[in-house]
Subunit: 89 residues, 2 copies
Amino acid sequence: MGAYTLSEQKTRTTVDIYGQQYSIVGTESISHIRLVASIVDEKMREINGKNSNLDISKLAVLTAVNVVHDYIKLKEAYDILEREMKKKD
Amino acid sequence: MGAYTLSEQKTRTTVDIYGQQYSIVGTESISHIRLVASIVDEKMREINGKNSNLDISKLAVLTAVNVVHDYIKLKEAYDILEREMKKKD
């Protein structure tokens, strides 16, 4: 399997996500990469628990959908907090 | 194709992600669901541009990996901002 770039530099870590191995290359620490992989693995298992008839590619896409949804919600909360912060300055 | 739950309630939207259709069920607005789908689609195409030999499930898993990475970074920034905010109170 090839190397999949998380970002531009030098740590290479092999992780297991949903029974497949991925070689992740990035500037982040190995523990960070393992944490990310374990979250993706856990979310895939959680979604599979609700929709056990999904094939792995649909499961993975829906995992990405759920994570992007969470990201946007967090970004909205971050922007609100930032505006409140500026008001206090 | 089945219905894939984003959250527990009633909006159902069909979106196209990387050439496949997904029926997303959730409490969110249709425009939010479309935004999420377009971000996932865009990220998959971006990662495919760097690793064109990936199959769709690996591509989607790596998309989820990248988004979880972004989420953790944003969460760290959010927590820092929140602590600064509390200091000002």
